[in-house]
Amino acid sequence: MIILFWFFAVLAVSSALLTVTRKNPVASAIWLIATFFCLAAIYTLLGAFFIGIIQILVYAGAIMILFIFVIMLLNLGNDYEPDIRGHVWKVVAGGTSLVIAALLARAFSGELPAPLGHVAGPASLAAQTADRGTVGVIAIPLYTDYMVPLQFTAVLLLAAVVGAVVLAKRKV
């Protein structure tokens, strides 16, 4: 498990770096998809099977296809312009990012506060998964405890659809 995790972790990080550094948007998108696949694997390793499936279906399957579709539509895959900023920016941004990573790692490595710590325990999630099934373990709280946010999410998606149509239309 650990080995698998490390394998996918290294793969995810390198794909992510390639995503950020590729000049061609299509290449970036492909590498991002690779990153998403790695992440989906890690989710599965972490016991979040449904999320792993959703990751592939929605992110890799739907959202990234949309990105590529737009890149193709605007014909950006062939004569793309160089868009990476100068060295100064690279250094500054890289430094800042590393500082953020270090700070995050530092925050995570310390003694975690109770809500993030050992409240439910691993047995609980495994037990629930055994009890309700892979989907049910998410679906039941989603449709009971998180009913209202779910409905809002639905409204948000509807608004996004309408907004996207209005924005992308040639003539309103």
């Binding site: 970036s28 995570f108 691993p122 709280p141």
Partner: protein
Amino acid sequence: MQQIPLEQALGLSALLFAIGAFGVVIRRNAIILFMCIELMLNAVNLAFVAFSPRSGVQGQVFVFFVIAVAAAEAAVGLAIIISVFRHKESVDIKNFSLLRW
């Protein structure tokens, strides 16, 4: 079954987030910018999922919402890019400073 240590998963999440942030700052292509943002969102998702074996299923529920919002964001953001591209013939955000002084 041996558990993946929480610290390592979170460390990966931090690293991915930093990479995404780095990309947001150095790239000017609006589409790649969006992709970097998606990367950062996924880093956060990873943190949520990493906590869920210990803290319960709520983390996964939030991941679900994040994915939904990301989908909406991508749809609207890409629509805006298309709309702007029609006027500017470019997706380089240096040309997008429409509301500047």
